[in-house]
Every structure is written in structure tokens, then in C-alpha cells.
């Protein structure tokens, strides 16, 4: 009796089901850090979804250390929770070598891989294969207050030496006026204070490991570097320096309390931003200081997007990351947020653009600094590891965090530099032995 109606209802439902499953979106889960450029990328994801209506982007935003731990746990246990991972130059070679990341091959022709800086690409590859697409890259450089230098008759060279920095700091240190000669990272962490201290050590001629993977903390070079650091920052730096990281120093500089600062090139965009910096017009830029050598004096870091092999949406994920690191994306950022906010440090085309160079006064120095940084040749004496401010081995994170705590302790005055370095040496030897680096 109602069979015909019943049948047509079933068919209608069936057809809708088929139609909607054909339209079902692929879900892409992206894990990323909360840096300004990533936030902007998140803001522009609507645009991507408009271009690719069959892809649905889901964001997981975490703090760097938490993100790294989360992503590593997931990728190592084959969890498959993430389709796009934001990783750095530290993880990319390690994970790529283990076969956990999808190789970045067969990229669209208009992607123009040759436009990207070779050192950046090199830092994200293992054995010649590229495993992640760089989102932005940075090096380190010296920021200084042009007005204070003028007022005191000082002149900053293109690349100062650390000795020169000390003389400047002495003159400009006026704590009673809340003006501190130099601000540097002091907060313990392999990516916090150790990034800066490693480049300092490089400049003083030190290296983390010799060719046999033995650490050299008790050597003369490390001693010179760390003693200099503790002396400089302790006497001419702000109070509480041993817990200041990038953010704290940025806030100090922006409120006019630092005369000089050596840190990431991306700081340039914050320092010259009038909406958050009280001293936006007085910023001068120089290369990161050298001492006995300029090798490894400026670091190299890139945040890149990779697709884990455990992902169930590899194609869609790859489409997304090619879009997010393309020239078209830079243009989109330019249109939406202004040219100074284009992701820096990855493409030559960005720096060929005269408008960009004008809008971002730190751009030329950034370009220079990135060009000088070479992860494969970052120390005066030859070293067995890849990386300027880190060593791309899995043990490095834990070792460097502990060493960072020791040096931070030396800065805070709770132990002598000698003691800190001796402890650093024993700790590193111990960890490396456990990880079976020494065949005996």
C-alpha cells in the first residue's frame, strides 16, 4: 500500500547519502606554535578553505615545548593525530632520517623551490631529501638604540666584537634611570638561553663536541665565552636577567629599558611596530657579534610545515602546506596584513621587493645574517654535528636544557662559572655514554 512511497523515501535518503559522502570534507589537523606569523596563517585559513572546499582545517595551537613533546610522542607512536606538523630545523633532519616524514617531492611547478634560500632548505633536509617546507626563517642579530648611541658619541660597526659590545654596555648602563646596557637571554632552555650562548661560544672559537663526540666544556674557549657572558649580563644587564627569555627582553626593549639586545631577527618586526614599541623610530641593526671568529655567530632557525607518514590525509595536508609556504601566500599576507608582516627569511623574492625592504628596516640585515649562517660549518674547529645553535642529535634537547640551567644558575650567582662548566661536562659525558656514542 505505501510501498511505493516507502521505496522512494529510501531512494531519496540513499541518494542524499551518496551525494553528501562525495562532498564530505577531508579533515586536516594542524599542530602549530603561537607565533605571530602562525596566528596570521590561522586567520587566513578561511581563504584556503574557500579555494579548497573539500578540505576542512582544524587547528591545535600550543606553546613550543609542549608542542614539540606532543608532536614527538604522536609521531613516534604512530598516533596519527596530526596531519600537518610545525617543526623546526632540529626535528626535521632527525625525523626525516627515520622515515617518519613524507618527503617533499613533486611540488607544483609554480612553487619555485629555487627561490628559497639554500641554507634554509639544507637545514630541513636529510641526505639530500627535503622533508619539510619552510614557513619562515630567522637568524640572530644585534639591535641597538640609535638615539642613545648618538647621545653618547658611540658608533656601532657592521659587525661588532663582543669586546666592543662590552665597552658600549659599560657606557650605556644607567640602572638608576632604568636604562640597562645590554639585554640578553638568561632563561634556561635549549632554545632559550642556550641558543644565544652557543652562538657566543661559537664566536669565541668553541664547539659543543669534538670529532669523537666528546664535549669540550672544560676547555678554554667555553670558559672564556661563559665567563664573558656572566660578567657582561650580570654587571650591565637588567635585574632578573636569569629568568628573562625572548618575550621578557622584548618587553624591556619596547619600553625603552635596553640599550642593546642580541636576539632573533624576527624581533625586528616587533621593535619597529609603533603600536607596541615606545622606541620604534630609534632602532639600529647590526650583525650578531663575533670575537675570534664570525663563524656561527648568528644562528639559523626555521619553522617549517611537514606531513607525518602516519597521517591519513597526506594529499590534503600537502596541498595545504604548499599553499601556506608559497609566494601567493606571501602576497595574500601583504594584502591583508601589510607588507612588513610577510613571513621572513625564506624566499629571495621577498628580499628583491624594494617595497618590502622599505617597510621592514631590519630586512637587509636579516638577509645578510641568514646568508652567513651555515649549519654545516658553524664552528672554528671542525665539528661532527649539523646546526649552528644546536646539534641535531636526539640527545641534545635534554643535555642542552640541563647545561642551560647550570649557566643560568651561574648567572644568578648560585654557582661559579667553573663549577657550572665542570658539571656541564660530566652531565654531557654521562648522557652521551648512555646513548652509546662512545664505542668502548
Amino acid at each position: 500500500m505505501n510501498n511505493k512511497r516507502y521505496l522512494s523515501a529510501v531512494m531519496a535518503v540513499g541518494m542524499t547519502a551518496v551525494a553528501s559522502s562525495a562532498m564530505a570534507a577531508t579533515k586536516v589537523t594542524i599542530g602549530t606554535v603561537n607565533n605571530g606569523d602562525m596566528v596570521r596563517m590561522q586567520g587566513l585559513s578561511d581563504e584556503f578553505e574557500r579555494l579548497h572546499p573539500d578540505i576542512d582545517l582544524n587547528w591545535v595551537v600550543l606553546e613550543e615545548n609542549v608542542l614539540r613533546q606532543r608532536l614527538t610522542t604522536d609521531i613516534a607512536t604512530d598516533g596519527g593525530q596530526f596531519d600537518v606538523m610545525t617543526i623546526g630545523m632540529y626535528e626535521a633532519p632527525i625525523w626525516g632520517e627515520k622515515g617518519w616524514l613524507t618527503p617533499m617531492e613533486d611540488l607544483p611547478s609554480d612553487y619555485d623551490l629555487s627561490d628559497i634560500f639554500p641554507s634554509v632548505l639544507g637545514g630541513l633536509s636529510s641526505d639530500g631529501t627535503l622533508y619539510a617546507l619552510p614557513f619562515y626563517a630567522e637568524s640572530s642579530m644585534t639591535f641597538y638604540r640609535k638615539d642613545l648611541f648618538e647621545a653618547n658619541g658611540l658608533s656601532m660597526p657592521q659587525q661588532p666584537s663582543w669586546d666592543q659590545m662590552k665597552t658600549f654596555a659599560e657606557t650605556l648602563h644607567k640602572p638608576e634611570d632604568e636604562q640597562y646596557g645590554i639585554c640578553l637571554r638568561g632563561k634556561a632552555g635549549w632554545g632559550e638561553n642556550m641558543a644565544l650562548i652557543t652562538t657566543m661560544a661559537n664566536a669565541f672559537g668553541a664547539r659543543w663536541f669534538d670529532e669523537n663526540w666528546k664535549p669540550e666544556f672544560t676547555g678554554e674557549e667555553w670558559n672564556n665565552a661563559v665567563s664573558f657572558y656572566v660578567d657582561l649580563l650580570g654587571n650591565y644587564g637588567p635585574p632578573g636577567a636569569s629568568s628573562n627569555g625572548f618575550n621578557e627582553n622584548l618587553a624591556l626593549f619596547n619600553s625603552g629599558k635596553c640599550a642593546m639586545w642580541v636576539d632573533a631577527t624576527v624581533a625586528g618586526s616587533f621593535l619597529t611596530d609603533e603600536s607596541q614599541s615606545r622606541v620604534a623610530e630609534h632602532i639600529g641593526f647590526a650583525l650578531a657579534p663575533e670575537q675570534v671568529t664570525s663563524k656561527g655567530s648568528g644562528w639559523l632557525w626555521s619553522w617549517a610545515l611537514a606531513v607525518p607518514v602516519s597521517s591519513d590525509a597526506k594529499e590534503a595536508a600537502k596541498t595545504f602546506i604548499t599553499w601556506a609556504t608559497s609566494r601567493a601566500y606571501s602576497q595574500l599576507v601583504e594584502e591583508t596584513y601589510g607588507i612588513a608582516n610577510v613571513p621572513p627569511g625564506t624566499r629571495t623574492s621577498t628580499y628583491d621587493n624594494a617595497e618590502y625592504l622599505e617597510a621592514a628596516p631590519f630586512a637587509t640585515r636579516t638577509l645578510e645574517a641568514i646568508g652567513n649562517a651555515d649549519p654545516n660549518d658553524s664552528t672554528l674547529n671542525p665539528s661532527p654535528y649539523v646546526g649552528v645553535q644546536f646539534a641535531a642529535i636526539p640527545e641534545f634537547q635534554s643535555i642542552a636544557t640541563q647545561v642551560g640551567k647550570l649557566i643560568s644558575g651561574a648567572l644568578a650567582g648560585s654557582m661559579s662559572v667553573d663549577h657550572a662548566l665542570k658539571a656541564a661536562q660530566s652531565i654531557t659525558l654521562r648522557e652521551m655514554t648512555r646513548a652509546r656514542y662512545y664505542s668502548n
Partner: protein
């Protein structure tokens, strides 16, 4: 008989006449007894057994997430490595210091403040709400507020107050790192103690108090002989629960000092993180976790010795 053994509690007075039916109902209630406790016990047993046995297994093999497949049996090597770590001694003593100090502060201040709030005064309801608020804030948020907005030596509120009185601001996390952490954690847990003690005081027998006062007992005597014993059980509960949580404090340390300077604010939980998790050494993390369990059990053993009676006896 089996059933009476299971039902050993304070003897009820009206027992004799209905002997038979009472034995019947005892048997029934003892079965119900077991039936009611079993789901919780079963669930917790599963929860304990499965991850625990995995942890024990991992602790005796070599297992690093970044070197999969390299899983040979290594006996006690992980434990040895963990215990000979430079930060181990500091980790243990910091754990105990942290737990002990926070317990002391929260219980003492908790008792004092709940006594203070026990009498009626204008706006008591609002005061009570203000007092229990910190417990609702997330530990990470808590730590960030204290670190950046309050204790920062340049722009924090404490620094401003110090400067107002002409003194140099203290760099809390460099000069008194462990104390700063203790301060932050105590602030978070004090409301818990206040809540429990405050509500306990509500039920203090007023008539007894009046009678004692009329008999000439001074405020101190009243406090020691009437109030404090009454508070014994809630204090015991506060101590037990806080201890369990304080032994594995992690978020506050992670957000503020990262265990430093040196090892001054590293406790066992943080040590496991920085030693093991940071390099994805699951074997080491498991060994560290088991050591932490042993230490926690020892601490609990002594704790129960101290306050166990108040917990399970009737007042």
C-alpha cells in the same frame, strides 16, 4: 562464622531479639557490601594494573621513542642512571620540602583564617567567596600571573610596592626560587583548606563552648581542648589530599623556573620530565616514575602513622 567476621563494626544495641532475621540481613548486607565496593575497586584495579605493568616493563628495557626497535632488556640500568643523576638528591629533598612547607602553611593559615571567618560580621558571605577563589584558577594561569604580573622584578606589583618603600625589588625567582614556588602553590591550595575547615567549624557544638566558657575556660583552653580536636578529622583529610597532589606538582615549575636555577626548584616529577621525557627516553621515565611511587608510599606510610587515627575513627 564468615558473615559476622565481615561485619565487624561497633556492636549495635538492639540486636538480640531478632537474631535469625538479623543474621539473614547481615548475610544480605555483606553481599551488598561487597557488591557496592567492587565496581570502584575493579575499576581502580584495572587502572592501576595495566599502566603500572606497562611502566614496570618499560623500566627494565631500553626504550627511546626516537630509536624504535632498539628494545633490549637492560635490567636495572635505567634505575641506576636515574638515581645517579646530579639532580636526584636535590629532586628528592625539594619534593619533601615543597610538600612539607605547603602543608604547614595551608593548614596553619587555614585554621587561623577559618576561625577568623567563623563569627558573623558584615559581608561575611562575600569574604568567604573571595577566600576560596584561588582554588578555581588553573595552575598554569596561576603560575603565569604570579611570575609575570606580580613577582617580576621590573614591572611586577611586588616590585612596585618595594620601590614605593624605597627598597630594591627582589628578583624572586633567582634569589628565592623554591620559596617563590611554595608561595604560589600555597596560594592555590589555601582556599581548599579554608573551605574544609570553615565548614567543619560550622558544626562545632556551641552549647559545649558556652558551658566551658561559663566554667571559666579561657580562649586558648577552648581552642586546644574543644576546637582543635573537632578539627582533627578535616585537617587529616586536607593533609592526605594535599599530599597526594603536592607530591607530583609539575605545571607551576614548568611555567616559571623550569627547575632552575641549577636544581633548586627541581622536584621528582620535574626531574622525570627533564631527564626522560625531554629526550623521549621512556625507559628512564618509567624507572623514575616507579622510584617516585616508592618514595610517595614511604611518605604516605609515615603520614598515616601520624594522622591515621583521626581519619578512620568516629569522633
Amino acid at each position: 562464622m564468615k558473615t559476622t567476621a565481615l561485619n565487624a563494626g561497633p556492636a549495635s544495641s538492639a540486636a538480640e531479639p531478632k537474631q535469625d532475621s538479623r543474621q539473614g540481613s547481615i548475610r544480605k548486607t555483606s553481599r551488598i557490601n561487597r557488591f557496592m565496593v567492587s565496581p570502584s575497586v575493579l575499576v581502580l584495579a584495572l587502572w592501576m594494573v595495566i599502566p603500572l605493568s606497562m611502566t614496570i616493563y618499560f623500566s627494565v628495557i631500553r626504550y627511546n621513542l626516537l630509536y624504535p626497535g632498539d628494545n633490549e632488556f637492560v635490567g636495572l640500568e635505567n634505575f641506576q642512571f636515574f638515581v645517579t643523576d646530579f639532580g636526584f638528591m636535590a629532586g628528592m629533598s625539594n619534593t619533601l620540602l615543597l610538600v612539607g612547607s605547603v602543608l604547614l602553611i595551608t593548614v596553619v593559615l587555614g585554621v587561623l583564617i577559618s576561625l577568623l571567618v567563623n563569627q558573623a560580621f558584615w559581608g561575611r558571605g562575600i569574604v568567604r567567596i573571595l577566600l576560596i577563589s584561588p582554588f578555581f584558577i588553573m595552575p598554569t594561569v596561576n603560575a603565569l600571573i604570579w611570575k609575570n604580573l606580580l613577582l617580576h622584578p621590573v614591572s611586577g606589583v611586588f616590585a612596585a610596592i618595594w620601590k614605593f618603600f624605597g627598597a630594591t625589588p627582589i628578583d624572586w625567582f633567582s634569589e628565592f626560587p623554591l620559596f617563590s614556588i611554595i608561595m604560589i602553590v600555597s596560594w592555590q591550595w589555601l582556599p581548599f583548606a579554608i573551605l574544609l575547615l570553615m565548614t567543619a567549624l560550622q558544626s562545632l557544638d556551641q552549647e559545649q563552648q558556652e558551658a566551658a566558657r561559663l566554667d571559666g575556660a579561657g580562649p586558648w583552653a577552648l581552642f586546644f581542648h574543644l576546637t582543635l580536636p573537632h578539627l582533627a578529622r578535616p585537617i587529616a583529610v586536607v593533609v592526605m589530599i594535599e599530599t597526594i597532589f603536592l607530591l607530583s606538582i609539575f605545571a607551576e615549575i614548568f611555567t616559571t623556573t623550569g627547575g632552575g636555577p641549577g636544581y633548586e626548584t627541581t622536584n621528582l616529577a620535574y626531574l622525570i620530565y627533564s631527564q626522560a621525557l625531554l629526550q623521549f627516553d621512556v625507559g628512564l621515565a618509567s624507572a623514575g616514575g616507579l622510584i617516585a611511587v616508592v618514595l610517595a608510599n614511604i611518605a604516605a606510610f609515615f603520614l598515616v602513622r601520624l594522622i591515621g587515627k583521626s581519619l578512620t575513627e568516629k569522633q
